[in-house]
Symmetry: C2
Subunit: 321 residues, 2 copies
C-alpha cells in the first residue's frame, strides 16, 4: 500500500466528507485537511514510492550540452543511473532504434519506469519532482519564476545560439575533415524540426561560410549579453535564481563551460568578476568533473580548444562592434 492510499484511507475513516467536498461550509480544520489532501495527491511534492525507486536510464553523449545538464542534475541529486552512449558525432542518433526513443534525434532522453522523458529542461524538472530529497528548485514561487526565466532563455535563445557559435568556431573545421559524400550525408540528416525549424539549413550555411554566415556576429553578441545578464543577476543574489544552487545554474553551466572549452573565457575573466567567481565555485563542485568534464571525448576537447583559440581573435572583433 502506498503512502497516498494510506492517507486517503485514513482520511476516509476520520473525515469522510473531506474527500468529497471543497465547499465553504467546511470547517477550518477540514479545509486544512482538504488542502493537505489535495496538495498531497495533486502536487509535485508527492510521488508514489515506485516512481522513486526504479532504475534511471540515460541516453546521452559526452559532447552534448543538454546531456551534460541532465548528468549534472543527476549527480547533484545523488541519483544513480545507467547510461546508453549515443555517439552523436558518428550519427547514432539517426538510427532507427534511437528515433523510436526520440524522433527529434536529440540526446539526452531519460527512461524511467518504462516511460521516456525527452527535453533536458523537462527531464531536470521531472527528476526534481520525482526525487525531491535534494531540491534543485528554490522554495518561493517568485524565485521559481526567476529559475525558469533562465532555463527558458537557455532553451529558446542560448542553446540554439550555442549550436551556431560552436559550429562557426570549431565544428565546421571538424566535419570538413569528412570525405565530401559523408559530409553531405551528415548535413542532410538533420531532421527539419531539430533544435529550431531553421537549423537544417543554418547548419549547412555555417559549415560552408563560417564567420561569413550572415548574422553570426549578432549571435555572439546575444550570447555575450547573457553573460552580462548573469553578472547583473549575481550582483543581487548568490546563485542565478536565489541563494541556493538551482536548475538555473545547472542550465547555464554547460553553456559557460562551452566557451571555456573553446578558449574563450576572456569573455568574462577580464571584465565580469561575479561570473568568474560563479564559474570558479561551479568548477569546485564534484559534479563538474564527474558529470561534465570527464565525459567530453578527448579528441573533441582538443579540437574545441585549438579551433576555438584560432577563432578567438575574430570573435573578439565581432564582440567589439
Amino acid at each position: 500500500m502506498t503512502a497516498i492510499e494510506l492517507a486517503i484511507l485514513w482520511l476516509s475513516w476520520r473525515q469522510p466528507s473531506i474527500l468529497s467536498s471543497r465547499d465553504n461550509q467546511a470547517t477550518p480544520c477540514s479545509r486544512g485537511l482538504t488542502l493537505l489532501a489535495l496538495k498531497w495527491c495533486g502536487e509535485t511534492a508527492w510521488v508514489a514510492e515506485p516512481e522513486r525507486t526504479r532504475m534511471l536510464e540515460l541516453y546521452h553523449h559526452g559532447s552534448s550540452v543538454c546531456a551534460a545538464k541532465v548528468r549534472l542534475a543527476l549527480d547533484e541529486k545523488g541519483l544513480e543511473w545507467q547510461g546508453h552512449y549515443v555517439d552523436v558525432l558518428k550519427g547514432d542518433q539517426f538510427s532507427k532504434d534511437y528515433l523510436k526513443i526520440n524522433p527529434k534525434a536529440l540526446v539526452p532522453a531519460l527512461k524511467h519506469n518504462g516511460k521516456i522523458v525527452t527535453e533536458s529542461t523537462l527531464i531536470c524538472e521531472y527528476l526534481d519532482e520525482v526525487f525531491p530529497d535534494i531540491p534543485l528548485k528554490p522554495v518561493s514561487a517568485f524565485e521559481k519564476v526567476q529559475m525558469r526565466l533562465w532555463t527558458k532563455a537557455v532553451d529558446e535563445v542560448i542553446h540554439p545560439i550555442c549550436g551556431e557559435i560552436t559550429f562557426a568556431s570549431c565544428h565546421r573545421h571538424i566535419v570538413r575533415r569528412l570525405p565530401p559524400d559523408d559530409l553531405q550525408r551528415f548535413l542532410a540528416s538533420t531532421p527539419s524540426l531539430s533544435v529550431t525549424p531553421e537549423w537544417h539549413d543554418r547548419k549547412k550555411e555555417l559549415v560552408n561560410k563560417g564567420f561569413d554566415a550572415p548574422g553570426i556576429d549578432v549571435k555572439f553578441r546575444i550570447y555575450d549579453g547573457y553573460l552580462q545578464k548573469m553578472e547583473e543577476t549575481l550582483a543581487e543574489r548568490r546563485w542565478l535564481a536565489g541563494d541556493t544552487f538551482s536548475l538555473a545554474d545547472i542550465g547555464m553551466v554547460p553553456y559557460v563551460n562551452r566557451l571555456a572549452m573553446m578558449s574563450m573565457s576572456d569573455m568574462w575573466e577580464k571584465s565580469r568578476p561575479r561570473v568568474t567567481q560563479w564559474f570558479e565555485t561551479v568548477k569546485s563542485r564534484p559534479s563538474f568533473h564527474s558529470a561534465l568534464i570527464k565525459w567530453c571525448p578527448e579528441d573533441l576537447t582538443n579540437d574545441l580548444r585549438e579551433f576555438g583559440a584560432q577563432s578567438w581573435p575574430e570573435v573578439k572583433r565581432m564582440l567589439r562592434k
Copy 2:
C-alpha cells in the same frame, strides 16, 4: 509513510494554522515545523498565505495570444484581477513606463505583491502554484512533462510561427494602411530580442513580401503539423496532457483560435475530428468568451476574418505542397 509525513498529517488535523503560516507571531517551534513542512514539500505546493491573497494586476491587450492565455488561466481558476490595457496596436508597449515593467516590450506582465512576473507560460505556472485550489496541472510527474512539452512547443515553435503567419496573412495588410513614416517607425521599434532574435528583420520582410517571404510555406506546414500532433494526442487522452483540462490546453487555445479567427478552421474541421471536438468543448467553457473573445477589438476581429479569408486559398495551396 515516514515519521515526518505522519507528523505533518497529524499537524494538519490538530493544528492546521501552523502549516498555513509563516508570520512572525508563530512560535519558534511552529516556525521550525513550518520550515520542516516546507522542506518536506520542497515544492511548488507550498505557498504562504499572504502570497495567495493580494491583488493581481495584469498588463494585457485584446489581440495578444499570450495575454489571452493568462486571462484564460485566471478565469479558469476563478481569480479576480485588475487590468491595465496596453494597446500594442498603438505602440503603448514601447512607452518608457511599460519598458520598465517588461524591457522586452511584450504583453502580458503580471504584478503581484509588488513583484513583476513576465512570460505568459511562467505567469500561468506561477498562478497555479500560488493559487492551487483549482489546479491546472496534471497530478503525475510524467503527465506534467507531457503538459510542459506542449507549453514549451508553444513558446519555442508555435508562438513565433503564429506571429509570422498572422503577419503574412493579415497584419501586413493592416499595418500597410499606416502613412509611410509611421510604418517605418512601427517596423523600427521592435526590440532586437523581441519574440526571437530574428523577429525584428523577419517582421519587415513579412510586411514587405507577404507570402513571397522565403520559408513562410514551411512555417504554415509546421503549424499544421502541431494540429496533427494534437489529433494524435487526443486519440490517447481526453485533454492534451491527460484526463483533465490543463495548462497544455490553455496554451493551445489562443493559437487554434487565431486560425479560427483568420477563417482557417478548415485546417481541422474537415480532417481532424478530435481537434474539432476539443475546440468545440473549449468554446463551450465560459472562459472562452469572458477571457478571450470579448477582449479582441472589433476592428481587428473583422480584419482578421476578412484578410484571413482572402489569404486562405494561398495558405491551402502551401499546405498541400
